[in-house]
């Protein structure tokens, strides 16, 4: 269903007219390209250790310096784009899809279904993100797929609660009552009338959660639920870098900037998409 309104020319044009959105899309595509082409464009092997040249300053040879095992930081950031983008985006996708669905359904149908579903959400939300992540890690064991699942599941109840809140606000709007009056089924109403209305909000939230997901990855890899070494990720690079903050401040700074730019890109795209999709804008 999403494909249909994506391809509608008017909206594509609206998106393309939005310069911020286009800039964001270009930036996001650049990141995707970097992730894909990492082996070709990395100046060094990201796993190659050189203990005789550890914590080197940025400069010739190593453009962004080396880490505490003498590995090239630039190459690790380029390769790190792969894992960080996949983990960040996939986990938010998992979380948003699950969370939105649950929140909308509970909010729309109300009654005992709402009560039951929201109680499960309450139960899940009664675990702090980090503790829940730790539990998942200890039970599932490490691995990227499990990491995505864990972060996605950790985020989904929060997303569900937010969409549920918005749904409650929409529930009694006239146009929904009208749609029901003309005999539209609940799924059709949710799809045609509710979702488009909330898509802007959901997209903005999803882009916000991407930043959160990448941050959660950083926190979890610090505690051990990360992607196992030697694979570099921005999260565990920051965590390692923070250990050396007084020695080589740039170690944590560069992957931090990478996260910032990636998040910026997705946000710009998200805003543009929202403006393009929002039915009330036209």
């Amino acid at each position: 269903m999403s494909r249909r309104w994506f391809l509608q020319g008017r909206r594509t044009r609206a998106f393309l007219r939005n310069r911020t959105a286009v800039a964001g899309a270009v930036l996001a595509l650049t990141f995707a390209a970097v992730a894909l082409l990492a082996p070709a464009i990395s100046p060094h092997d990201p796993l190659k250790q050189d203990v005789y040249n550890m914590l080197a300053r940025p400069g010739r040879g190593h453009l962004l310096g080396t880490d505490d095992l003498g590995r090239d930081v630039l190459s690790r950031i380029l390769y790190g784009a792969r894992v960080s983008l996949i983990v960040g985006l996939s986990s938010v996708l998992v979380g948003t899809v699950v969370g939105t669905f649950v929140g909308l359904v509970a909010g729309y149908f109300g009654g005992s279904l709402e009560l039951g579903v929201m109680r499960v959400v309450d139960i899940l939300m009664s675990f702090p993100v980090l503790v829940m992540g730790l539990m998942f890690m200890a039970i599932l064991g490490p691995g990227m797929d499990k990491l995505i699942l864990a972060i996605g599941l950790v985020l989904s109840p929060q997303i569900a609660r937010l969409t549920h809140g918005s749904m409650v606000a929409l529930r009694d709007m006239e146009y929904l009552t009208a749609a029901r009056a003309v005999g539209a089924g609940p799924w059709r109403i949710l799809r045609r009338h509710v979702l488009p209305n909330m898509l802007g909000e959901i997209l903005v939230m999803a882009t916000l959660w991407t930043a959160t997901a990448i941050r959660v990855e950083a926190n979890l890899s610090f505690i051990g639920l990360g992607v196992s070494p030697p694979t570099p990720t921005w999260g565990n690079m920051i965590r390692e870098g923070v250990r050396w903050l007084v020695v080589t401040p740039w170690l944590a700074l560069f992957p931090g900037l990478a996260i910032l730019l990636a998040v910026l890109a997705f946000n710009m795209v998200g805003d543009g998409l929202r403006d393009a999709i929002d039915p009330k804008l036209h």
Partner: protein
């Protein structure tokens, strides 16, 4: 009212001048919280530190130098001719810290010492009961304690059991009974500082024990802070909010902090041994040729460089050279068991074992940097001969469980043990084999070949012959490549330059720069 206030303020000023600049020293550890302050359980650095300030042993390691024993609660001691009976003569006038039920404390006597040693020997009330098997404790008058052994032990193995370390710390009987379950977070002892307050996940406050038997401590008190972030610790040190911090045990950190004005860095021993244990029951590590190939692949000096020369001291036998019976790298080289890096030879050995292109194994490692970093370096080194080491990072608690379930072909382990006997027994005696041993412990390599030597050496009263047996056992282990010793990792602490410990710091079993009655800031 106003006059009253002035009076109070002036009074406080006078009081503070009277104690002559006595100050509270603050020390911060790399820990999230305390675990237990019962000295017979305390194992982690931050807990051993508090315990060290609050309690005494019968004898003590000389502050700052673990090679010398001196009197502590006992003024003197003697061993019977057959080596089976040790008698300790206690100092009189040793005052126990005040506690609920005894606001002035009381005098420590042999009754307390017997109680404490009995507790240390009881597996239900002590983590170190294994050290006291076959011993009996009795009072011989209020100031004398007699310990009877079922087999004679050399002094080098016996005195550590009654020294200020682990089970040797003396717990006052009445205080322990009065506090019961609360003792672990409200310790009462005889040391220079007494427990005052515990704020969970933040700090423990100690104040000085005015009746300490070595004299009134110069500091008014000590605060022990739990600060797991190293940059936060260093920041607090640089602003003067903290006086001593646990540092990062790596060269680059030491070098940078040394250059900061008004700060000093202490790098001291004995440190912990970092050893790679090779599981001799897991294919393909079970093949001697493969284990030799691994040994010839690893370049010890590369790992040592990765950590740093001041902090990591190369270790060539499994017992560090400054313990009786330890092996120096020269001694190992002299018998040709150094396994100096030789990649061609390693490849040839792999080919002979049937793995010409290498093989793949996977192993767990804890997230802690002091384990993970060298293991990542080993991973990169092994890749040079085609051995693919897949690493799975798990949390520290899972790691300890997993390696004890015998799932790892390679175990990187960091440990300190007080004697060659403890090192060899715990890691290489067949009783200690994980899962299947008679007393499953930390024998990750499944070594069985040195049982006899370990047992003979344990009861050998002649120090020279004893040391020779320990060395022989280690050479046997090197021969079968049960493990590959990497280095000894020393302790790193930084302090404000004005802190004066009151002794020369070379090595200490307390695992932190000991703070005692002579320390000033």
């Amino acid at each position: 009212m106003r006059r009253y206030l002035t009076f109070v303020v002036v009074g406080m000023l006078v009081a503070s001048c009277a104690v002559g600049q006595a100050q509270v020293l603050k020390i911060a550890f790399d820990a999230a919280d305390l675990r237990t302050l019962d000295p017979h359980y305390a194992a982690a650095t931050m807990d051993r530190a508090v315990v060290d300030m609050v309690f005494n042993g019968l004898v003590r390691y000389k502050p700052g130098d673990i090679t010398v024993f001196e009197p502590d609660l006992a003024e003197s001691w003697e061993m019977s001719a057959d080596g089976l009976v040790w008698t300790f003569y206690l100092r009189s006038g040793v005052r126990v810290h005040p506690f609920a039920g005894a606001p002035d404390g009381y005098e420590l006597t042999s009754e307390d010492v017997v109680f404490s040693l009995t507790k240390a020997a009881d597996a239900n009330r002590s983590a170190y009961s294994g050290e006291y098997v076959g011993m009996e404790f009795e009072a011989a008058g209020p100031y004398a304690v007699r310990i009877t052994l079922d087999r004679a032990l050399p002094a080098s193995l016996f005195l550590p059991k009654v020294a200020d370390y682990a089970g040797g710390f003396i717990i006052p009987k009445r205080a322990y009974e009065a506090l019961a379950d609360r003792f672990a977070t409200n310790p009462v002892g005889t040391g220079p500082f007494r427990f005052a307050r515990y704020v969970p996940t933040q700090k423990v406050e100690l104040v000085r024990h005015d009746q300490y038997f070595r004299g009134v401590p110069r500091l008014a008190g000590v605060e022990v802070w739990y600060m797991p972030d190293v940059t936060a610790r260093l920041s607090a040190l640089s602003t003067g909010e903290i006086d001593i911090i646990e540092g990062v045990r790596e060269q680059a950190w030491v070098d940078v902090v040394k250059r900061i004005p008004n700060l000093a860095v202490d790098v001291f021993g004995p440190g912990e041994t970092e050893v790679l244990h090779l599981n001799m029951t897991k294919d393909p590590i079970s093949s001697l040729l493969v284990r030799q190939a691994i040994a010839y692949t690893i370049d010890r000096s590369e790992v040592v460089t990765a950590i740093g020369a001041d902090v990591a001291e190369p270790l060539c036998g499994v017992v560090p050279p400054y313990l009786a019976g330890g092996l120096t790298c020269e001694e190992v080289a002299a018998v040709g068991l150094l396994y100096k890096q030789d990649l061609a030879l390693a490849r040839a050995l792999l080919a002979a074992a049937g793995y010409p292109t290498g093989f793949e194994i996977s192993a767990n490692i804890t997230e802690r940097a002091s384990y993970r970093k060298p293991f990542e370096n080993i991973q990169a080194q092994l890749a040079r001969v085609g051995i693919v080491l897949k690493i799975t990072v798990v949390d520290h608690s899972s790691f300890h469980t997993l390696i004890r379930q015998d799932v790892n072909p390679l175990v990187h382990y960091e440990a300190w043990r007080p004697s060659a006997d403890a090192f060899l027994t715990r890691f290489y005696h067949s009783d200690s084999i994980v899962v299947t041993g008679a007393k499953p412990d930390t024998n990750f390599s499944h070594s069985k070949s040195v049982d006899v030597l370990i047992e003979m050496a344990r009861y050998e009263l002649d120090p020279a012959r004893q040391a020779a047996m320990w060395k022989q056992a280690q050479l046997t282990l090197l021969h079968e490549v049960a493990s590959y010793p990497l280095y000894v990792l020393k302790f790193v602490f930084a302090r404000s330059a004005t802190v004066n410990y009151g002794y020369e710091l070379k090595s200490t079993l307390a695992l932190y720069p000991q703070i005692n009655e002579l320390t000033t800031k």
